[in-house]
Structures are given as structure tokens and as C-alpha cells.
């Protein structure tokens, strides 16, 4: 149980480290406006967009949580979904071109689309399902759904908070101390690792199902 929450936090930190999830944009915002406040101001829409991208994936599965006896089937579906998406990202490691059409004034939309297009919400699905499992005994349907919803929101919030803390710290370090020359040294290609995480996450869901 605590292990699952730790995993939610860890995934949040991991997303926070990825420049594609927003910290680099926050740095750019701060430099463009020439004030530190703009770095953090950018994180409000970025974090909200990220939170929504998590919730939009987790909530439909929360709805299903009253099908207690079908839990293995739900895990199976989640696992297949993740493995499929992971393989897709592995084979087609290119950024979706439509994202290039979102302008710099639509940070919330950008963050939501960016996280969704990379399957950031999907990655959380197995750990979310694991959290729903043991805690929920037999209870009336409405209670189960409420617990499911509550867990989905809590997972999204905790995850986003970790993402915000990590990304915010990194943005500040680059903006204030390291400078953009650090990009050359510190910007690693995470695409392969990202796809690997999706696959790993999918495998966990499958293992739970079988």
C-alpha cells in the first residue's frame, strides 16, 4: 500500500524531470519575461494540465471499480492498453506533430495534450488499480464508486504535486544557477526510457491480472 503511494510519487518525480512535461517551458517563460516569478507562474497552468491528463485516464477506471469480481479483467485491459501504447512509442519515437500547433499562450492545453500524447496518465494506471484493490472490500456500489473516485483524484494530486516539486526545482536551478548551457549536458533523450516505463507498467498490470 505504502509502496504503491511511493510509486505514485516516484512517477511524479520522473515526469517532473522530463523537459517535455513543462519545466523547460517554465524556464523559457521566466527568461522571456526577465523575472523569476514568471518561471513559477508558468507552472500553474502546466500543473493543472498535467493533473487533468492524469484524472481523465484514471476516472473512467474508477467508475469500473464496482465491478469487483471483474478486477482481473480490468487489469488485463489496462495492461494490454499500456503494452500496446508502449510498443507504439518504441517504434514511432517521434513527437506528435499536432502538438507543434499549440501556441505559447495555451500552456494548460499544451501541458494536457503533451502528457496525454505521451501516455503519462496511462503509466499511472496499474498502480492506481493496485491501490483500488486491497482497500475496497464488499460495499454498496455508491460507496465503491466514491472510493474509486476519491482514490483517482488523490493519486492524480499526489502525482502532480511530486511532478511540480521536481520540475519546479529543476526549472529554478537552470534559470537561476546553471544557465541554458546546462541543456547540452543535462538534456538526455528519455524517449526510450519512457517507452520502457510504459511497457514495464503494462507488464505489472498483466501480472496482477493473471
Amino acid at each position: 500500500m505504502w509502496g504503491a503511494w511511493a510509486l505514485v510519487l516516484a512517477l511524479g518525480c520522473y515526469h517532473g524531470l522530463n523537459p517535455g512535461m513543462g519545466w523547460l517551458l517554465a524556464v523559457s517563460n521566466g527568461m522571456q519575461a526577465r523575472r523569476a516569478g514568471a518561471v513559477f507562474a508558468a507552472f500553474a497552468p502546466i500543473a493543472l494540465g498535467h493533473f487533468l491528463a492524469m484524472a481523465v485516464v484514471l476516472l473512467p477506471f474508477a467508475l469500473l471499480s464496482f465491478y469487483l469480481d471483474r478486477r482481473p479483467l480490468i487489469s488485463l485491459a489496462a495492461g494490454v492498453l499500456l503494452l500496446g501504447f508502449g510498443v507504439y512509442k518504441l517504434l514511432r519515437r517521434r513527437h506528435p506533430r499536432f502538438l507543434a500547433r499549440v501556441g505559447p499562450t495555451h500552456l494548460l492545453l499544451w501541458s494536457f495534450l503533451m502528457a496525454s500524447a505521451h501516455g503519462a496518465g496511462l503509466m499511472l494506471l496499474p498502480v492506481f488499480l493496485a491501490l483500488c484493490g486491497p482497500r475496497f472490500g464488499a460495499a454498496p456500489m455508491m460507496v465503491l464508486m466514491r472510493r474509486g473516485f476519491g482514490t483517482a483524484i488523490a493519486v492524480s494530486l499526489v502525482h502532480t504535486a511530486a511532478m511540480l516539486a521536481t520540475g519546479g526545482l529543476l526549472a529554478w536551478l537552470v534559470y537561476r544557477y546553471w544557465g541554458l548551457g546546462a541543456l547540452r549536458r543535462a538534456w538526455f533523450n528519455l524517449d526510450l526510457l519512457w517507452a520502457a516505463c510504459l511497457l514495464l507498467s503494462g507488464s505489472l498490470a498483466l501480472a496482477e491480472a493473471l
Binding site: 523547460l24 523559457s28 507543434a100 499549440v102 499562450t105 541554458l180 538534456w187 526510450l192
Partner: protein, 468 residues
């Protein structure tokens, strides 16, 4: 198959980082056969200081077709790949995209593993461009948020006047033509150069003329009737929509090169105008955004030079003067010096544009020219005049070639121009002078046009972060 794990080392977050990076060792220069009797080629010129072959062509990529007429070209990827919104920094700056403006054919040349081993890896036939975009005569190439953007000079049909010309998009990894750029082109009906400011999300484009107005030479009646382009167009870059046009006045004929300030916080840029039909002046314009609107103002003029009619081509005899013919401009990465090619009078001017609204003439070199015919300091004759410019990223060297466009070369200079590439060295304090030891000649029967420098130059990369 695996991308590199680090960003391409030739991508720079800011203009200042690009200036501080190692200097270029190679220049890529387009060679064209003005009469189409030989295939066009890409020349690789050694520009590494101290190299035994410094200032010489060390490799050539000869095309398999004739009659392409090479003009402008560009890289598949540049510093715009570091954009925090749409970047993909693990794509390599590796391929040169070379369009033929007469044939509408596009070549993709791979410059790795080494510039001296550059080779063609893909050829896009004209029919594919026509079918997918309805455009013809591809020209300026830039790399940006959605991949490679290429402007065209012609629309559909044999003479390129069936529908307006515009921009199209190409994938920067597999070089598939993706389709037209414009979602809404507004009143734009002519096209030439374009560039943008990526963080400020605007694009600017300019106008030369339609294909019948240039392919067989300049049409004097059209020029005197002010029928060449004289508009600047501003676009919502990512929305792909036209937002504003500025008419700079019909007498200001041929609004060609656009050079936005490199520093992404600055919302201004420069435009070079070939000729004012009321007085033969060339002019520099500064555009800027204020209160959400774009404005443009004429900020420098270059007067024509009186000359003996005997020295002039038929086209200019009635005027008894040589117009400067501002055919290319280029801005140093620190946004300090604007170089202005006066192809008619044979002069390259250096303006200090620290105050963009008041350019100050800081230096000048003379070489070639319709009437002056100034020889190069090496003693060699320099046909034509300073034309296509390229400034090194550190701002210390300005390279240039001498040909404008095959049919126009003959009209203004009486004959095809043997290609030459020379270089001027810039003084820190301003002012510059030609390097008498640098004079690149090309094969017999070839003219030379645009130059690109290894690792980027001053008219390739767009920067997404301010230098501060």
C-alpha cells in the same frame, strides 16, 4: 536506428551560446549552370584557418539532372529544435534541403559522416510537389516547429500563375512533403522569403514577383508599372493564419529578404527592398510590433550612382545611373550589424543597427559593380557584385558570392557570371575589409549562389531562449 542520447551539439539555446561555439570549418555553396548545359552542384569549401586547402572547393555533389537552377537552401534541423514547446533536440542537423527554383525538384543531401563525403540520399520529383501542394518553384528553406518550411515562388500550371504561391511543410526526418502551410492566407498573392520569432509565435513573409516576371529576366514594363511585390505579410505562426499585411508603397519594388532580430525577446526585424522606381534608391525597412499591431518604417536609403551610359546595359541606359539593387541583407547574431548587398553598384555595406530605427553606416567594401568593376584585392576580377551573404556565427567573417539569378545576371552584367566566393573580416569596433587571400573560384561555366556554414550561420537558426 537509435537517436543520440544528447542534443545535437550544433543546436544552441541562445544566440550568444551560438556565437561562443567553435567556428565553422566548412562552407556549403550552391553552384548553378546558368544556361543549364551542365548539372547544378553543391560545393564544399574548406574554410578552416590554417588548413592546407583553405579557401578551396574540397568536395562536390553533382546532381543527376540539368536545369534545376539552384538558389537558396537550408538544413533539416537547427536550434529551433530546442524549443520548449515543440522541440525534438535529438534530431540531427545533418541533411541539406536543396530546391531547384526552375525545375521544382528538391534534393536531400546527407553531410555525414563528413562534409567531404556529402551525397544525395533522396530526390523529390517536381510532380510530387505539384500534386501535394499545388505550388511550384521552391525557394527559402527554414526548420521550425512543424518540421521543414519551404516557401515557393509559383502556384500551379505551366507558368506558375494558377493560384497564389505560398509555403509548404516537409517532415524533417523522412522528408515527406506534408502539404500546404496556410490555413488562411488572407490577401497574400505573392511569395518570396519568410522567417519568424518562435517564442513570440509570429511569422513574416515577403514578395518578389510571379514566375513570368522573373524566369525569363526582369520585365521592365512591370517594374515601371510597380507590379512587383511590395507587401510584408505577418502570420500567426502556429495557427497558420494570416494576421496582417503592410503595403510599403507600390514604388518600393521587390520586398525581398526578411531578417528578424535573433534575440527572441525583440519584436522587430529588417527588410531589404531592391529598388524605388521613383528615384532608383535601395532601402532598408524596420518592422516592429507595438500595441499588438505590426508597423514598418523606411530606416535607411542607398542612392543610385550616376554613370556613363556607355558602361550601362540597355535596361539602365535611359537612366544614366546604376541603382544599388539591394538583393540580400543579413544580420549578425548579436543583432548589431546588418550587412546590405548592393549588387548593382558593387558595394557591401555594414550598418550598425544597435538602434534598429536608426541604422548607422559603419563600414563599406567595394568589389565588382555594373559601372565600377572594382577588382578583388587579390587582383582577380570579380564578376557581378556582392550578392548572397552569410555571416559566421561569431560575427567575425562575412562570406559572399556574386550571382543574383541566371537571366538577371545577363540583363544587368551582359553575360553569365563566373562564380566567386570571397570573405571580409570584421573589426570588433565596426568596419570591415576584404581578405585578399580568400577567393574561391568554381568550375568553368558555373555561377555561385547561397552559402551555408557548418554548424549554422546567421540566416539559418532560430533561437528559442533569450541570451540574458
Amino acid at each position: 536506428m537509435f537517436d543520440s542520447l544528447r542534443p545535437d551539439p550544433s543546436f544552441y539555446a541562445t544566440p550568444r551560446l551560438a556565437m561562443q561555439a567553435p567556428a565553422e570549418n566548412f562552407a556549403y555553396t550552391l553552384m548553378l549552370s546558368p544556361d543549364g548545359s551542365q548539372p547544378d552542384a553543391l560545393a564544399v569549401v574548406d574554410v578552416a584557418p590554417g588548413s592546407a586547402s583553405h579557401g578551396r572547393v574540397v568536395h562536390k555533389v553533382v546532381m543527376p539532372y540539368r536545369g534545376d537552377e539552384f538558389h537558396h537552401f537550408g538544413w533539416n534541423a537547427c536550434s529551433s529544435m530546442l524549443s520548449p514547446l515543440s522541440g525534438h533536440p535529438f534530431t540531427e542537423r545533418r541533411y541539406l534541403v536543396i530546391p531547384g527554383i526552375r525545375s521544382s525538384r528538391i534534393y536531400i543531401v546527407d553531410t555525414k559522416p563528413h562534409p567531404t563525403q556529402a551525397k544525395i540520399v533522396k530526390i523529390i520529383e517536381p510532380e510530387e510537389l505539384f500534386r501535394k501542394t499545388g505550388y511550384s518553384r521552391p525557394h527559402t528553406t527554414h526548420c521550425g516547429p512543424e518540421g521543414i518550411y519551404i516557401s515557393t515562388l509559383g502556384g500551379g500550371g505551366v507558368d506558375g500563375t494558377d493560384g497564389p504561391p505560398g509555403l509548404f511543410l516537409m517532415d524533417c526526418e523522412n522528408f515527406e512533403i506534408l502539404g500546404r502551410y496556410e490555413m488562411d492566407r488572407g490577401p497574400q498573392r505573392m511569395s518570396y522569403d519568410f522567417w519568424w520569432n518562435i517564442p513570440q509565435n509570429y511569422m513574416v513573409s515577403s514578395e518578389w514577383g510571379l514566375p513570368p516576371q522573373f524566369e525569363n529576366g526582369i520585365v521592365p514594363e512591370d517594374l515601371l508599372a510597380n507590379r512587383y511585390g511590395h507587401h510584408l505579410h505577418f502570420w500567426d505562426l502556429r495557427g497558420r493564419k494570416h494576421i496582417q499585411s503592410i503595403d510599403i508603397g507600390a514604388n518600393h519594388q521587390m520586398a525581398l529578404e526578411v531578417r528578424p532580430a535573433h534575440e527572441p525577446t525583440k519584436e522587430y526585424g529588417f527588410l531589404g527592398v531592391v529598388v524605388d522606381t521613383t528615384n532608383l534608391e535601395g532601402s532598408i525597412w524596420t518592422w516592429y510590433r507595438e500595441g499588438g499591431q505590426f508597423h514598418a518604417r523606411k530606416t535607411a536609403v542607398i542612392p543610385p550612382e550616376p554613370a556613363d551610359a556607355a558602361l550601362l546595359p540597355d535596361l539602365l541606359k535611359p537612366f544614366g545611373a546604376v541603382p544599388p539593387l539591394v538583393t540580400d541583407i543579413d544580420l549578425s547574431l548579436d543583432d548589431r550589424f546588418l550587412y546590405v548587398a548592393c549588387w548593382g553598384t558593387g558595394e557591401l555595406r555594414q550598418y550598425d543597427v544597435s538602434d534598429p530605427m536608426a541604422p548607422r553606416l559603419a563600414g563599406s567594401v567595394h568589389v565588382g559593380g555594373i559601372a565600377r568593376r572594382t577588382p578583388h584585392p587579390s587582383g582577380k576580377s570579380f564578376a557581378g557584385g556582392p550578392q548572397m551573404l552569410e555571416i559566421s556565427r561569431d560575427g567575425k567573417r562575412v562570406y559572399f558570392t556574386n550571382s543574383l539569378y541566371s537571366t538577371w545576371d545577363t540583363q544587368f552584367y551582359g553575360a553569365a557570371l563566373p562564380g566567386a566566393q570571397v570573405m571580409a573580416r570584421v573589426d570588433e569596433a565596426g568596419g570591415f575589409a576584404l581578405d585578399k587571400d580568400f577567393f574561391v573560384g568554381f568550375d568553368e561555366g558555373y555561377s555561385a549562389h547561397q552559402i551555408r556554414l557548418e554548424g549554422g550561420d546567421c540566416s539559418t537558426d532560430s533561437y528559442c531562449f533569450p541570451s540574458v
